[in-house]
């Protein structure tokens, strides 16, 4: 039985010329203690085309994961997506979609691979059961067909002897194998769009490369679009066609991957690139960006990066920079784009 036969007869929205995913002015807020509000994601807009691989980059606490969870409307309580935000997937407005319809999209047309394969699998269900469950929940497949599909998928993600492995429980598998199972779960229904939230962070370096290779291969085979969340620019260089750099809940730079590595224009992106250790470089210490991301309850006025920026000047403190187009598909949120002569390095204040 083929997948298209298995899939229940739900309306497939017309695929127009528009992007697969269109996020406009996404705001996510969490009430913090004492009446404060943490604006974890503060007005993010981006689009993802069919079959495209986009990397979302930024350090811990900049809102990457919350952005990803928002796309499936899974922001953990008490956080909420604020009015004015819009997420369109295949032309469907995800934020106003009834729960039941949204549920039929999750895992089916849009899936997510989680960061921690150790805890994202249920310890009391066999891995085959967990993959088959996705098939059973979204299609009219029989128990038998769903199981066969699960075993087949385990084989596709490179697990040897999938029929035996399917009967095993998560604690009997290694970390790398569990992540393969997570990927199998996400991809079993061949979704059009997959979100991978730091899929390799919890794994050994050698396994990381294998998992990335697997993702790339599956992407090529199924033509799915992939949003890869990472803080590893090595992963970005290997996987992405386009990169979105986030800082303090905002997009600070967005560019095709070559443009970003060749011509990083935001001081934060510059800092991230400089922080990659280079083999053979005569460096006593690793380069870092001084300071930390400010608290989301209290974003600084003006530019949010200025406290840590080597080029900050008076305008940065008073005026928040807008996201400016500087090349085809290259956008930057920095005053230096308009005043390149101010690009003078000084000691950052932080």
């Amino acid at each position: 039985m083929t997948l298209s036969q298995l899939r229940s007869s739900q309306p497939v929205p017309a695929v127009g010329g528009g992007p697969l995913l269109n996020v406009q002015a996404l705001h996510v807020a969490f009430p913090a203690g004492g009446g404060a509000i943490a604006r974890a994601v503060d007005g993010i807009s981006f689009t993802i085309a069919h079959g495209e691989t986009v990397c979302l980059v930024g350090e811990s606490g900049c809102g990457k994961s919350v952005t990803a969870l928002s796309l499936l409307r899974l922001v953990p309580s008490p956080g909420r997506i604020e009015a004015g935000s819009a997420i369109h997937f295949n032309g469907l407005d995800l934020l106003t979609l009834p729960d039941e319809e949204l549920r039929s999209i999750r895992g089916n047309r849009m899936a997510m691979i989680f960061q921690e394969p150790m805890t994202a699998l249920n310890p009391v269900l066999s891995v085959g059961d967990q993959i088959a469950e996705v098939v059973r929940v979204h299609t009219k497949a029989s128990r038998r067909d769903a199981w066969d599909k699960a075993v087949d998928m385990l084989g596709q993600v490179g697990i040897a002897d999938p029929a035996t492995r399917a009967k095993q429980y998560p604690h009997e598998l290694s970390g790398g194998m569990r992540q393969r199972v997570m990927i199998a779960m996400a991809l079993v229904l061949e979704p059009q769009f997959v979100i991978a939230d730091e899929p390799t962070t919890a794994l050994d370096v050698t396994i990381q490369a294998q998992i990335l290779e697997l993702l790339r291969e599956l992407r090529a085979r199924t033509g799915m679009a992939l949003l890869l969340i990472t803080h590893d620019l090595g992963v970005v260089a290997e996987m992405a066609s386009r990169v979105i750099v986030m800082y303090a809940g905002q997009v600070v730079e967005e560019a095709p991957v070559e443009a970003l590595f060749a011509n990083a224009s935001h001081p934060y992106t510059e800092g991230l690139l400089a922080a990659i250790p280079r083999l053979g470089a005569d460096q006593a210490r690793l380069t870092t960006i001084p300071g930390t991301v400010p608290a989301p309850t209290d974003w600084p006025t003006g530019c949010r990066f200025r406290e840590r920026c080597a080029y900050a000047y008076d305008r940065c403190a008073t005026e928040a920079p807008a996201l400016v187009q500087i090349g085809s598909a290259h956008r930057v949120r920095c005053h230096l784009v308009q005043e390149p002569e101010r690009r003078v390095r000084r000691e950052p204040r932080a």
Binding site: S104, Q168, H171, S174
Partner: protein
């Protein structure tokens, strides 16, 4: 015996050729074997009472010549003042004592699971109200409550006793179930299940309920032990099941007035109670140990 399901399946897995990590399961299973076998034996003895017993537990063959005989080969546990065979009465008493205990614990598990699940899922105000109510219920001494409730009747019928014990025995289950579900609700895999579009009901039945089996299995065996003792105590005080067959507590109650001369009337049913409670407690402890490693994913 829901507890046997996962246990058996894991034993099978441990033998599977591919098992990645050397499993600790066979070892913990060995610890389960004896108490499990003894529990089964207890149940079998109760079921086979008509075969094992030499006489009817209620027949009074010769109220003059055979009354109050000490233990002998003819009457292993002696006879009582109505010439009834105490050995037969203890065997039949197992049926009453064990069924009262297991049925009332089943009621308690059902009530407690529902109550705890509602509290955990609803959260917020509902949860707070339910939990404070539970605190109030827990503050009432169970034995006094039982005595008060059973004193309305001259004779306590079997069903009434089962219901009484069941409805006063679920508080602990409710607490455990609530906290177990609460801890499950924050786990990543439930988040992941939600992300794959698993419906709510299925989430409860497939993803959360299996995690409750250890809690419930342990509670069931310990609860049965506690209830056997409690029922014996109640019956001993004169509030137990009487007709037609006696429970262990009732037999002890009958022998109480003559305990100095006819020790066999109280000692044998007492030993039976002790044995049953011990076996059930042992099973509970072994189950807890067997389930413990499963709780922590390797």
């Amino acid at each position: 015996m829901a507890a046997l399901g996962p246990t058996g399946r894991n034993a099978e897995l441990a033998r599977a050729p591919l098992s990645a990590a050397p499993s600790k399961r066979p070892h913990t299973h060995r610890a389960l074997r004896t108490p499990l076998a003894l529990t089964l034996l207890l149940v079998l003895v109760a079921l086979a009472a008509p075969i094992l017993a030499p006489a009817s537990p209620i027949a009074q063959p010769d109220i003059v010549a055979q009354r109050s005989l000490p233990p002998s080969f003819a009457h292993l546990f002696g006879t009582d003042s109505y010439s009834r065979d105490v050995y037969a009465r203890v065997l039949y008493g197992a049926r009453v004592s064990l069924s009262v205990a297991s049925l009332s614990v089943a009621i308690a598990l059902l009530l407690g699971t529902c109550y705890g699940a509602i509290a955990a899922f609803a959260g917020g105000t509902v949860d707070r109200v339910l939990m404070r109510t539970l605190d109030v219920l827990l503050a009432l001494p169970r034995l006094l409550l039982l005595l008060a409730l059973s004193s309305f009747r001259d004779e306590v019928p079997f069903t009434y006793l089962v219901i009484l014990l069941g409805f006063t025995g679920w508080y602990g289950v409710a607490r455990n179930v609530r906290s177990e579900i609460q801890s499950q609700l924050t786990r990543d895999y439930l988040h992941a299940a939600r992300a794959t579009g698993v419906p709510r009901i299925r989430m409860l039945t497939r993803h959360i309920l299996p995690h409750l089996i250890p809690v419930l299995a342990v509670y069931a065996s310990l609860g049965v032990a506690q209830t056997i003792a409690l029922e014996a105590g109640l019956s001993y005080l004169g509030f137990g099941v009487r007709a037609p067959n006696p429970s262990w507590g009732t037999i002890m109650h009958d022998g109480f007035s003559v305990v100095r001369d006819q020790w066999w009337l109280t000692v044998f049913p007492g030993l039976a109670t002790l044995l049953a409670v011990l076996v059930c407690n042992w099973l509970g402890d072994a189950l807890r140990d067997a389930f413990a490693p499963e709780q922590v994913p390797a």
